[in-house]
Symmetry: C2
Subunit: 174 residues, 2 copies
């Protein structure tokens, strides 16, 4: 089961930059800066978050598991980092940055040539406790999809009033 | 407000085929045939639904408003048509078909050269009652985003068990 699982993760992970590019690049700022209200994230903010995760979350955590196992807990992830790190950058440059980081990370992941038994190795999440390499890769993949979902939801909600009576048929607006 | 509104609709409508292409084409069938349980739709089924809507929903309904106003209610939309119409077709061919239909529909929409007052014209929805051209265009746009959301949600849920303890952080899995 490991080979299909790993290929299924890669098949999603490698395409996420292109999905977000198709969805957001050169879109009017009314869409890309929209939020779901105070304290919620715009599509622009989401891309900065994905960049930060490429830098400090997935591959660094995998490296910690492979080198230290459960003896060294992961660093905590800063869910607000993108508010500093995206500052002054255009959405286009963030999309470029995300795509380049993802390509590099997947090249390094493939080069690790993980063996079936390595997917069951455990690391230590600082809040969640023991987690496996397999769970880390599944979470990386699911996290991509969750943020594609979030971006499309934020955008859809902009038109909550505009759709008039059709709101009744659009569960995303409820 | 009409010019930005119309451009904002078009800016999303024209990119949806590319978004779904980036998300789904050549993806393992384990992803594209996944559902959220009995009676729910896979990504493959969603593309067939979008094709049917291109054929019989958005532009035909706009034409009815422009020609008949509220005097002729729209045809009811068949939400199950894709189960017949997609039969035997590959996902790649459905993505091609959706892209071609959307391009054609947007070319016809632009060619109508709708004037500001035409956005307020009313038609008659068979269940929802009076609706405007503006609401129809907003709904077309939001419907695209709602189905991108649905596809990413269906895919994310495949890994509900695989992510292990991280499920706690992934609200899409709840």
């Amino acid at each position: 089961m490991t080979a299909p699982f790993f290929d299924e993760c890669l098949s999603v992970l490698k395409r996420t930059p292109a999905v977000l590019d198709a969805l957001l690049r050169d879109l009017p700022e009314a869409w890309t800066a929209a939020t779901e209200g105070p304290g919620t994230w715009s599509p622009y903010i989401v891309i900065g978050h994905l960049i930060h995760a490429e830098r400090v979350d997935w591959m660094p955590r995998l490296a910690i598991i492979l080198e230290y196992g459960q003896s060294r807990p992961f660093e905590s992830f800063d869910r607000e980092a993108q508010f500093r790190e995206s500052h002054g950058k255009s959405l286009s440059s963030l999309l470029d940055e995300f795509g380049a980081l993802r390509r590099g990370n997947l090249a390094r992941l493939r080069a690790l040539n993980l063996q079936p038994e390595q997917f069951e190795l455990r690391g230590m999440h600082p809040a969640l406790g023991p987690v496996t390499v397999r769970q880390l890769l599944a979470t990386w993949t699911t996290h991509d999809l969750a943020h594609i979902l979030q971006v499309s939801r934020v955008m859809a909600k902009r038109f909550k009033q505009e759709v008039g009576p059709w709101a009744e048929y659009l569960s995303v607006l409820k």
